[in-house]
Symmetry: C3
Subunit: 454 residues, 3 copies
Amino acid sequence: MSGIEGDLRKHIETLFPICRSITGQGLRDTLRYIAGQIPLTMHEVPSGTPVLDWEIPKEWIVRGAVIRSLDGRTVVDFADNNLHLLQYSIPLDRVVSRSELDRHLHSLPEQPEVIPYRTAYYADTWGFCLSHSDRLAMTDAAYRVTIDTSLVPGSLSYGECALHGQEPGEFLLSVHCCHPSLANDNLSAIAVAIELARTLQQRPARRWTYRFLFIPGTIGAIAWLAANRDAARRVSHGLVLSCLGDPAPPTYKRSRRGDAPIDRYASHVLSEAGHGDRVLGFVPYGYDERQYCSPGFDLPVGCLMRSPNGTFPEYHTSADNLSFVRGDAMTDSLATLLRIIDLAEADASWINTCPYGEPQLGRRGLYSKIGGASDGGGSRFDTLTLLWVLNLCDGRHTLLDIAEHAAKPFSAVAAAARALHEAGLLRPERPGPELLRPDASAVTAAARDESPVP
Amino acid sequence: MSGIEGDLRKHIETLFPICRSITGQGLRDTLRYIAGQIPLTMHEVPSGTPVLDWEIPKEWIVRGAVIRSLDGRTVVDFADNNLHLLQYSIPLDRVVSRSELDRHLHSLPEQPEVIPYRTAYYADTWGFCLSHSDRLAMTDAAYRVTIDTSLVPGSLSYGECALHGQEPGEFLLSVHCCHPSLANDNLSAIAVAIELARTLQQRPARRWTYRFLFIPGTIGAIAWLAANRDAARRVSHGLVLSCLGDPAPPTYKRSRRGDAPIDRYASHVLSEAGHGDRVLGFVPYGYDERQYCSPGFDLPVGCLMRSPNGTFPEYHTSADNLSFVRGDAMTDSLATLLRIIDLAEADASWINTCPYGEPQLGRRGLYSKIGGASDGGGSRFDTLTLLWVLNLCDGRHTLLDIAEHAAKPFSAVAAAARALHEAGLLRPERPGPELLRPDASAVTAAARDESPVP
Amino acid sequence: MSGIEGDLRKHIETLFPICRSITGQGLRDTLRYIAGQIPLTMHEVPSGTPVLDWEIPKEWIVRGAVIRSLDGRTVVDFADNNLHLLQYSIPLDRVVSRSELDRHLHSLPEQPEVIPYRTAYYADTWGFCLSHSDRLAMTDAAYRVTIDTSLVPGSLSYGECALHGQEPGEFLLSVHCCHPSLANDNLSAIAVAIELARTLQQRPARRWTYRFLFIPGTIGAIAWLAANRDAARRVSHGLVLSCLGDPAPPTYKRSRRGDAPIDRYASHVLSEAGHGDRVLGFVPYGYDERQYCSPGFDLPVGCLMRSPNGTFPEYHTSADNLSFVRGDAMTDSLATLLRIIDLAEADASWINTCPYGEPQLGRRGLYSKIGGASDGGGSRFDTLTLLWVLNLCDGRHTLLDIAEHAAKPFSAVAAAARALHEAGLLRPERPGPELLRPDASAVTAAARDESPVP
């Protein structure tokens, strides 16, 4: 197992047993683990704080939860699997008739052996989740139900990691970390985000500021947006990350805008990998893109997944466990993210400094000396790519526009632009830092070598 | 036979025998009949009045027209079928040689048993229409032709019925009623328009003013436009109605603009009914959309038909008779019109009053309490429809835009918008009357039940 | 052989033996021949003149070039075929080892019997082109190479023919004439351009000024652009002409803009001829459209060819000879050009002077007198075409827009517009010369009769 794949695996194995929720100790322990891997600022938002249309809920503390037969036999125990307890269940300790209890049980008749994952954050109720076969075996007339939880004024926790760049724009990467023992949704994305942050941190320079958010779903995104309206305005690109470890190929769900640069970058990368059919339109359901893409914010934030939410049988069940998540899938997700990010780093608008007629490329060593012969292969770009870049660098086309219009690989277009820049034939549209980094693709290639898509 | 179908049938049966033309007593009698059914203002425009590029013609009075053999046998008689006389024939009473007469005869060699319908409004000529077999049987050397008509200074008649609405815009419905004994073209549309006006009249409130014009073709539309340039400017939507009783499914011909709201409403309704292939582009030929869509006016007026003009063998012949028109086709036309009108009444732009992040739907009773479970069916709209409406109510999308973008039924989108409006989460884009009327679709449904498309 | 076909043939036969290059006597002799056919202004640009990013090279004078065996046997002789000498070879006279010589030989292993055409204008080197079989037969250890050339300060020659028109805009026709004995590329285009200029010259009036450039490729276009920035700005339409004599159907390569009027005219003409699939997108490679379509100029200049450069085996070899070029292909190219030009002459925006309602066509003799009968064929346009023209002449549609929207032949639309103009129902959008010339299409038809596409 490669270094990166081993690291990814270690993250999910360490975090799997913890019982996370949208508040509480499990969430806090998870953030503390992440803070051990990458620079992370911890935030605590007190219960009761108004955030946009919402209010930070009470903190949920869970110490245990058991259903016992009246003769003392344990039937369902939170200690066995933290999915057993409906999240945000209120405390309880009494004998409950089988029929009353049944209204508080959640199981999946069509998948009788798995435990579903259910929540009731704002509902003032209680419940247990269990396999359908176990439910059918509960034939006593009554059971003793003990739920040792508290709902107390506390706070909602989230973590933030910002890797600063040269331009004012930001690249947001948002990862929900409120799910208990579910490996693909969303420990896989937490693990990939950690390694992505590490890779970006090692780069000598970054064009964009990369802001990673490790937040509880919905309420965490809303809390961050409420406190960071200015930072939200600076988001030039963004991705919600989820389910990055299952065996399916990558899936990209477009931002609400549909044609934001991030949408083009992700579509381009997926299409190049032969997964153009896995680029989906925006739907106001799913993960925290629902919040970032609400009409008031309308941020250019899409969602990168492998299997989309709700489309695989293991989704939100005890079958979404460590054996469901694959190391090669996580490394491929990381490589895909790096390719998207490299596009976002390198894509820019350049200006042909010699736009009247073609410049004489021959005297600059950029053109074959013998006219009529075919292009010598072997260079990083062919003559036609060079001519396309010169022809379209008019301030109305970015390098990606040129690559797509000319049907040339982005890497060849970027290399040609670099050569023309060195020859003085291109200048950046806006004065600013040097934008093209040849080393970036090297990093990507390394990550790619480690994670061949099967 | 249902109530509405019986009423529709009665209208066409009463009106069929009358010899209408673009002026004269038959047209006036027809308008008087309509005035007995719905509130109708009668207009008379004197002969010689200049109207746009035209002039109101003399009034044509017809008392009879016969071709007799020289021994007194009646060969062709207007009294038998008012199609026999070329409309606007000048008076005549003399013996005509068979060869001269032939130049004034109109028949259809390919449909030898039917009488064609022909007109010569502005041509100062005369003629007879007859079946081709009768024409071939006319082998005498000469005939006595008697045409007892007058062309006198008089007036052109038309009727107007306006049902006032709450907004300043108008919905124009234009029906030509200048054809003599032709049942589909256009008694079917006269009958459907009468029942449509009755239905709209019974509504407690209307958003748009519905203006029905019962006019002679071309010159009537031109006369109305000449006298009503301001009203024309108020037309927000419009439909020319023609041939609404033949067995073909409905057909919609777009306005000149091609993408006016009425074009979208009619296309949406036809597509929902599985007739998306019967939405045709604008062509400057056909009915009075030619005038409304002339480039100076360019009104958003399309044309609703079943079989388009000239595409069915009965068109403009004696075979377009009472047995050709079907009651179920007319009731289906009425239902289709009501669905289009309901769209025009309900389609509007709403604004999400809580656009930053999703509003907390749970505390407003608009969201399932247990997260992770699938949507309970049974409500008028699902959660996803609700989220779509919230997401797209940004002032740039109407409810129909949302329905089409989200691929949800318009009725579900409208119901979700109503629920969100009641919860205070939506406000109308412009202050104004309450636009959504749940009873509207009930009326439509009733009409639909009575007229299943075969 | 028809008159035009004979003339075309004579041009290419006369010019074939001459050794042209981008400068020098062969080029000058060629221009002198053209000047004998059409009014041509000759230009000489001195060596060393800076032109845009380039500099006019020295003039290349070639008197002979031979490879001999050391015992005096002639192995390769420029006198046999002027393709044998690499263009712009520097002088040389010495014994060269076989292995050194090999680095200066150019042949085509896959087409072992033909001589390739190669150039080294700016490379300070020498070389020979020969058939691959001849190359393989050169087995001596050394050869005597004699290249009797000079590179001296002189000038670059080009010719210009302007046929003035009534509007300020210009129609540029650019033909490269720097290739030695290659018949299709580009004597065919020189011949067609001569006959096109003659045809246009005979017209009593022209809307556009037609400017023909006979120039060496690349450096000639650059020299002309450098000296004629104002004239370049006046280019309303333009075509680079190349390879107009091979058996393939015509091909049009769009201008950089992609949707300039010339792109629509050429696409329309090719589509009407059934060659819509031979309309190609712009690529910054090929002929002098590379210069005209450089981003600083971005002129509306496309390229008309039959076989595109590099797509036929005879391309840039001794097989592109007089027997490869076909007379019927050249006459078809001429007819195609005239159809494109007739579109450019006739396409204009007209305004309906009677836009409110339809004008009464009957009293102007433009409408059938008997309503209901079908259109009598036989006229140059049908009633529907007339109505389309009236409906769309609103200042936002040209006649070609109308023809394409209405799916009517452009000639019928133009004829209908002429009839409506005569009836006072249309006026030109801008006051100016009479734009429609019925005789123009007659010329085209004549040319067409002479050159049926096989």
